[in-house]
């Protein structure tokens, strides 16, 4: 784990570059993580996915099933990968400030 400074704020990130405490996430941090995940420009579509993930995480304390994410946002899995090159579990969750999904994934 290490600390990084983003917009003058000290943020603790884990070995994989995910925010350690999802509660400190705010919209101002997203562009920093977008650079890490090779997302060149944040569009409305990116925010749709990020906001959905945030809302689901707030309600259930975990990332949603990938198929549910696709169905509820209206994006195919391929489109999600176009938006977040390292995928829904890694890239999208990192930008949304969720913990990294672990286990057999």
């Amino acid at each position: 784990m290490s600390m990084v400074e983003i917009n003058g704020q000290q943020i603790e990130i884990d070995e994989d570059g995910f925010i350690v405490d999802p509660a400190v996430w705010n919209e101002g941090l997203v562009s920093y993580f977008a650079k890490q995940e090779e997302v060149p420009e944040l569009t409305e579509d990116h925010w749709k996915v990020i906001n959905y993930l945030r809302q689901y995480f707030k309600q259930f304390g975990i990332a949603p099933m990938i198929r549910k994410l696709c169905k509820d946002t209206g994006f195919t899995l391929k489109e999600i990968y176009e938006l977040f090159p390292s995928g829904p579990a890694k890239g999208a969750c990192k930008l949304a400030g969720l913990p990294k999904p672990t286990g057999c994934v």
Binding site: F60, R67, K68, K90, T102, G103, C104
Partner: protein, 446 residues
């Protein structure tokens, strides 16, 4: 030597009850643990005593073939522990040292153990070809256990143990989310079939307890749907426990006491609903842990344990299956084919579900591991993982144009798609065997 994975820190290992032993006490602690295993794990002594270094295992090990690293040659890997064992527990090793294949415990011993025992997939292919039957997986299991007992383990394993303690599954899915996922999958099945097919969670008085992999509630939805359709068609009284939404048992892969705790959770869940039958979902090592070690961990138990593919195979003749127009092959999960007697069942199921079933070579108990086995799924080890998966990719590519690759284990499902993409195949459908059952079963029209 710097191990290739993130290593869990002192506060992290303490949080799962496996505190780090101070550096200066490591040697004493490791030798004490090894001494304990000499009496409790007799198989380990057979593996440590008998190697003649004939070299036969080198060409059978995908880890060595993929990485070409000397210490990934099974006899050399086991020697990392064997030489310490000889030095401290045999008179020849104590007296003649290196001349008798014995080494002193030094500053590098444990980092080498961590590095190389976590490049062994515990696939047991070496044991299949060794003239003495030496099973390096036994040595790997022992080494990882000793390491974790003194507080040394990958962050990946530690994180999974945290989730398991908190929620009862590797992914850390809390009970309300489990119910939400089940409802989502029920909706999916309703849209597809027009039928009300249930995925009951924590239903009391159930005859059957189904234990899916937690990944079936995140990425491998169709595996779960296949099982739910099967139970629906057979009209059985079943449920899934939110307390053990996990067929995997990572304890087998890093700490044997953790394995026992997991198994006792399974017993408690089955007892709570009065289940007479526990059915394990698609998970390789978890099947080995449940099948082989339930008696040792939790006896006496009042239920039988079967695998979902065995159970499905037993009922295959009754199922309303229409063959899918696919050219499909099967990757044998190592723990099914070499440790779990699940070999012909998936083949019979697949032949009933697809028009053209083809075998990869070698197969069954001679199959090559996917390279993710034993929980080597760390992102930071990706380069090594791709080397470990090289033999598998070659096997699949040799079959030419395929429509579907079945890999009925969640670790394989996480590893193989990345491997295939890395070796240039990105247009292949991949998933479980139960996925095919779900898709081939005719259950009504939407």
């Amino acid at each position: 030597m710097k191990p290739p994975m993130h290593v869990a820190k002192e506060n992290e290992v303490a949080s799962i009850g496996l505190p780090r032993v101070p550096k200066q006490d490591e040697q004493t602690a490791v030798l004490k643990k090894l001494d304990d295993l000499r009496s409790s794990m007799r198989s380990l002594m057979v593996m440590l005593e008998n190697c003649t270094k004939c070299g036969n295992c080198a060409k059978q090990c995908h880890s060595y073939l993929g990485t070409e690293d000397y210490h990934n040659f099974p006899a050399a890997r086991a020697d990392l522990m064997r030489r310490i064992y000889k030095r401290y527990f045999t008179w020849t090793g104590r007296t003649f040292g290196r001349f008798f294949g014995a080494d002193d415990f030094d500053a590098d011993t444990l980092s080498k153990w961590l590095t190389y025992f976590y490049q062994c997939n515990e696939c047991r292919r070496c044991a299949k070809f060794c003239p003495f039957g030496i099973d390096t997986a036994e040595v790997t299991i022992a080494a990882r256990h000793i390491l974790s007992e003194i507080g040394i383990m990958p962050k990946f394993m530690q994180g999974i143990a945290v989730n398991m303690n908190k929620t009862g599954n590797n992914m850390g899915i809390p009970q309300p989310a489990i119910v939400d996922c089940a409802e989502f999958m029920e909706d999916e099945m309703r849209e597809e079939t027009g039928l009300d097919i249930k995925i009951p969670i924590d239903k009391p008085n159930s005859d059957i307890l189904y234990i899916p992999s937690s990944a079936d509630f995140f990425t491998n939805v169709d595996t779960m749907i296949g099982a739910a359709k099967l139970f629906h068609y057979l009209g059985v009284n079943w449920t899934i426990p939110s307390t053990v939404l996990e067929a995997a048992n990572f304890g087998l892969l890093f700490n044997l006491n953790v394995m026992r705790e997991h198994n006792q959770r399974l017993k408690a869940a089955a007892t709570a609903v009065g289940a007479k039958l526990v059915i394990q979902g698609e998970c390789g090592h978890g099947w080995r842990a449940a099948k082989a070690y339930t008696d040792g961990c939790s006896a006496p138990v009042s239920f039988e344990i079967v695998h979902i593919l065995d159970y499905c195979d037993q009922h295959l003749g009754k199922l309303p299956l229409k063959k899918l127009p696919l050219r499909a092959t099967l990757h044998d999960p190592c723990n099914y084919a070499r440790a779990g007697e699940i070999v012909e069942q998936p083949r019979r199921i697949m032949r009933a579900c697809v028009e053209n079933f083809v075998e990869m070579t070698p197969n069954r108990d001679e199959n090559f591991c996917c390279g993710g086995g034993s929980g080597i799924l760390m992102d930071e080890m990706m380069e090594i993982r791709m080397k470990l998966g090289k033999k598998k990719a070659e096997q699949v590519i040799a079959l030419g144009k395929l429509d579907y690759l079945a890999m009925p284990c969640s670790i394989c499902k996480a590893q193989i798609p990345v491997v295939m993409k890395y070796y240039g195949v990105d247009d292949l459908m991949m998933g479980g065997v139960m996925d095919l059952v779900g898709k081939a079963m005719i259950l009504g029209e939407a």
